[in-house]
């Protein structure tokens, strides 16, 4: 028994003619779905379907040639006691924890700097953005050359100031992780900078003028105008950067292959190793699924946290 049903029918005002309105909104969302259909189909075919397939494979023993054999949760229980997995997990978290904030802060700093008018601004913008569009494989090879202990330019410069690498920067367990981190930041910072630049340019000038009239200094203007009005960009940039760092693979694969002795092996590298080198695709799928869940949870936490800070105007 609902309260509406108890109302005498006679007292009701004539029902508003809402059907046309509904039809408009339905039509609108239908149009939206229609426009989205091609993309969604591609997503289903190339993302959702492989994910479901990978989820299935993660419960099997599979080598690509023989039919997959159902093993239940075996792969996941094996993960828990697998030292390689925890090592890669730790490396991944370390990499993400360092590279994500450094990338975001640097991207913002570059964007602020390059938003000012000065001679050579276009060059600086291009120079910072360029690494992003060059293939990571090529970048990694170039860096491996720069850091080479015998013929590397950077090694040479460092030796001029008395820093002589005992071995290659990339093969020394103390520096290998730092080296791939630096390249990871350098590679992507330009892309996030461009997002921030777009954000900065969409902030109305009158906001700054109003703040200035209120007596706000440079720092205050940055804290109370720039930063809040960039919250959309910050949300996007930090979520994208975190996901990208958690999937770090290519530059590490080319620069160190996860070595020396697995010091730079990340989860995606481990997935690759278990799958394509040890031919254990079921186990590799289980690892990638743990990574997917981990990325999903972290992204949701980030969404939730940063959305609360979000500001619209």
């Amino acid at each position: 028994m609902t309260t509406t049903a108890e109302r005498p029918a006679a007292q009701l005002p004539p029902p508003p003619r809402r059907r046309p309105a509904l039809r408009v909104s339905a039509r609108r969302s239908l149009t939206a779905w229609l426009f989205l259909t091609p993309t969604l189909l591609i997503l289903v075919a190339f993302t959702v379907y492989p994910m479901v397939q990978a989820l299935y494979l993660s419960f099997t023993d599979y080598n690509l040639i023989r039919a997959a054999e159902w093993v239940g949760l075996d792969n996941y229980t094996e993960l828990l006691s697998d030292g390689s997995f925890w090592n890669a997990f730790g490396n991944t978290v370390l990499y993400a924890l360092v590279v994500t904030p450094v990338t975001v802060v640097l991207a913002l700093a570059f964007a602020l700097m390059l938003n000012q008018a000065f001679r050579g601004r276009a060059f600086a913008r291009t120079a910072i953005f360029l690494p992003f569009i060059v293939s990571l494989g090529i970048i990694a090879i170039a860096w491996a050359f720069l850091l080479d202990p015998n013929i590397g330019l950077i090694s040479h410069w460092l030796s001029l100031v008395g820093i002589v690498p005992e071995q290659g920067w990339l093969s020394d367990p103390r520096y290998a992780m730092a080296a791939v981190m630096i390249v990871g930041v350098w590679k992507n910072v330009g892309f996030y900078m461009v997002i921030y630049l777009a954000g900065l340019q969409s902030i109305p000038v009158d906001m700054y003028e109003a703040a200035r009239l209120d007596g706000a200094g440079v720092l205050q203007r940055f804290r109370n105008v720039t930063l809040p009005l960039l919250s959309n960009q910050t949300l996007l940039v930090s979520v994208l950067a975190l996901i990208a760092t958690l999937q770090a693979f290519d530059q590490i694969y080319v620069m160190t292959r996860g070595g020396p002795f697995f010091r730079t092996e990340t989860l995606v590298m481990l997935v690759y190793r278990e799958g394509f080198q040890e031919l254990r695709f079921g186990y590799a799928s289980a690892i990638s699924f743990v990574l997917v869940i981990f990325v999903f949870i972290l992204s949701m936490v980030q969404f939730g946290y940063l959305r609360r800070k979000q500001v619209t105007y």
Binding site: N63, I65, N150, I151, Q247, F249, V268, S288, V292, G304
Partner: protein
Amino acid sequence: MKTQHRRRSPERRARHTLRPLTLVAALAVTGLALAGCTGQGSGGGSDDQPDASGKVTLDFWNGFTGPDGPALEKVIEDFNASQDDVEVKANIMPWDTLYQKVLTSVAGNDGPDIIAMSASRMPQFASQGLFEPLDDYYTDADNDTEALATAAVDASVFDGVNYGVPVNFTPMMMYYNKDLFSAAGLDPEAPPTTWDELAGMVPKLTVDENGDGQPEQFALALADHETVPVFASLLWGTGGSIANDDGTKSTLGDPESIEALDFWVSLIRDQKATQIGMSGADADKLFQTQKAAIEVVGPWMTTGFDEAGLNYGLAKPPAGPSDEAVLADVVSMGLPAGTSDAQKEAAYEFFAYWNSAEGQTTWADGSGFPPNRADVADKVTASPYPAIFGAAEVTDVSKTLLPGVASGGPIMETIFNPSVQKALNGEGSVKDIFTDASAQVQAELDK
């Protein structure tokens, strides 16, 4: 100012995050995590069926990207011209690309008809059902397999079944830089023949010009990863090894193995005999730029060393205190599981031609590799290297590493090489590191 920015109400936020489209988008973004392990491209297709004229085309994948590639193609060309029934097409790509692609493309029925790979990797793939057994090739007298070097044939045997036919059989030899020997006051015609002699030469061949503790010139170019497993073969010198002959028991923790590792690790760590952490390509570069006096490597480097203008000598690697075994690497050709009879027959014809006196002469002349059969040695005249690498005193003591062990690849890449790197970086004592590694090797062998 804050009034100008309207904060979203909590309800609105909650509703927003639950919208299906947002979820789809979030899932899609998260799904990128999988992108790295789903999209392996497959290789080019091949004509699996005989064409109208009855000719069978075989797609032959291999990794002879160096100066040996043209030699390989020359033999294939000769074979194609010698008959009208079979045509072989070489598909040359880097070895690591080949290993990455071969499994997915065979599984997708879009792979090669003939696969060449290091015989040390074949057991792993054979144990997964990738290869067709080829025992009947060896029982057919027409194929003249009796003439082939036994070690080359045996290298591709797994579980008593032969899955491959040799492409080449190559002992690793010691290249030494005669100019650097002279500069160090050593006789350029007297390379070290034993470990002790080598150890005696290391201080003279290691040069630290500016006294910063980092040598500018190293006695050795010895890689610890991504290379033919020269380091692993050094265990043999004292009678040590990674596993016993039938691949059932790990011997990496045995006293003989530890003794050998102790010798090499202290030579490298304490005397800086080589640069630590080099890949095979780094070691080649070090020797090629005259920053190292000695490298143990295969004949594929000779062209590069010649072009660099090095004045080098070639000799058998120094013998250990109790054994003088030389590491040999074998590349074999296999057929993917499910190969049709017609294709098998066609492939056998090619294998027989490859290993015929004619084919091997062309191959050795052009590539510098020693021939797979002793009876053509005197016909190889275009290059001096096949004779040196194929000399009886070398091939007689040549051994392959971990023959027939299915987990040989993983043992080398995930246990042995990382352990060597750990030891060379001083992260624990040799004994502890390799006793631990030995238990891991045993676990792999028991799988």
